[in-house]
């Protein structure tokens, strides 16, 4: 089997069932008036989703021989942030989506107040998980994980990127503005998904440069592929409404580059991402396969 032909399906299936199990254990419904909150968190966090970010975390952690249970805890924290952001982004005041991962969005299945709180609760839970001694016996590792994830979630990460995205509906964004927007909105969390595996493996910042470059490139490739799927994809497979950006008149990689150049650019980014891994051997094959999956996926 050559490096290029590794089959990602077993790894994707495994992480999907591991994430469902983690959230099932973490979100036991209490017998008090918070039960709806926990049901809403479970609705959003369990079942569905590609689990690409958790896969990146465990795949990177595995390269540095990190215990899988610890890696799964960090992957769960990263996915908490991703799921919280989906719940809030889907709200009527934001992107106003009814369908997510093939199910009604949280504010549709429950109500808006519950959706706001379920997102908030998952946001806090991510940091509680990371700061817990079970995640790492080394407080420096815990603290560094929290710092990186908090940055990726805050005003200079996802929240900032989502604000830019709302502005994109009325401001005119060029390619560099869209790139910056996406680096914040989706790139920062993909970056920390990869980097957190290396932090768990106690790799110092200077040893993480290649992984950072890899994450930056697949983050952009992921977004270009998303823009293409938004126009060319199948809503049933995607499990959410498509064609939204185009309808809102938002500048995207696709609207700015056109289909052919967008596809070409995504391919170039994947090649470049893989080149960033040249310092690693077979232990990075899973990351190489994820890079290809990012642009070849159908949802």
């Amino acid at each position: 089997m050559t490096r290029a032909s590794i089959d990602l399906t077993p790894a994707l299936d495994q992480i999907a069932s591991e994430m469902d199990r983690q959230f099932d254990l973490l979100l036991r419904v209490p017998d008090d008036s918070r039960r709806t909150l926990f049901q809403a968190m479970r609705h959003a966090a369990i079942g569905g989703g590609k689990r690409m970010r958790p896969l990146l975390t465990v795949a990177t952690a595995e390269m540095f021989n990190v215990d899988r249970q610890r890696a799964l805890r960090v992957a769960t924290a990263v996915e908490c942030i991703h799921v919280y952001s989906l719940i809030h982004d889907d709200l009527p005041a934001m992107d106003d989506d009814d369908l997510r991962r093939g199910k009604p969005t949280v504010h549709k299945a429950f109500d808006e107040a519950t959706a706001v709180l379920a997102g908030d609760a998952l946001h806090a839970l991510a940091f509680e998980i990371l700061a817990d001694e079970e995640t790492s016996p080394d407080p420096f590792v815990r603290s560094e994980l929290v710092f990186e994830l908090a940055r990726a979630s805050g005003p200079s990460g996802m929240a900032g990127g989502q604000m830019m995205d709302l502005a994109a509906a009325h401001d005119s964004f060029d390619l560099s503005a869209v790139t910056r927007l996406q680096q914040l909105k989706t790139g920062a969390l993909i970056g920390v998904s990869v980097e957190s595996g290396a932090i768990l493996g106690r790799i110092p910042p200077e040893g993480r440069m290649g992984l950072r470059g890899y994450a930056r490139d697949i983050g952009l490739a992921f977004q270009i592929a998303d823009d293409i799927l938004d126009v060319e994809g199948d809503a049933d497979v995607a499990g959410k409404a498509l064609n939204k950006d185009m309808a809102a008149g938002k500048a995207t990689f696709l609207s700015l580059l056109g289909l052919d150049r967008a596809r070409e650019q995504a391919g170039l980014l994947v090649d470049q991402a893989v080149r960033h891994l040249r310092g690693f051997g077979h232990e990075a094959d899973l990351l190489r396969a994820v890079a290809r999956y990012v642009v070849e996926r159908d949802r």
Copy 2:
């Protein structure tokens, strides 16, 4: 001057101006399409508010000779969480308030999407501040601060309490249910406001028992006083709409106990809070004064 007669005004004025300065430095408006996000965060975080939680943090930290700059950073993180919760609680889908701290709420001054994101961004920022080496050179201290604040903010803290509060409008809550609700909704964050000062001072958990008891008692006294102010207070002084719980038919300490017993109970809790500090000398006078302020304040 006896212990009972310490004047809290200078300490309240000082922490108010220090908090405004911290947020002013932290939330510099960037020259990109995130500017509205930062303006909304500044609108909510700067000016107004009693700053009681930050005062508790710096007052406790001072008892253990913690550097004031470090204490202020932790106080800012705690206040980030408080402000974020106010922004989200005020949303139309939640308590639907137009006025907060004498100013229009964030979704009124800006819009709902910006309010959701400004809250989210402040939520993340709190953990970024705590996990930063500038807050403490000791990673164990940083990690412990994050863990305690995340718990206070999440499903077993504020978010859980707010969910119970939404349920209180249609379920019938007795005194023990209201007590539990408020321990989560307001008590948990008041608890961490106090305890974080001791964590910064490297006081081990067994040395924090008195402070925990103090925080639990003033937390409940604070909420009883809030329920009384909601009915008897002046909306102009409070800077927000009053009489909301009564109008919504929610069970509160006041509706369950009546005015006289509620006042008496608040007084007993303050006495009990002060007794929890008996192991400390004059260095705890500020905390003793805060305990009295909690029930004597007019907003």
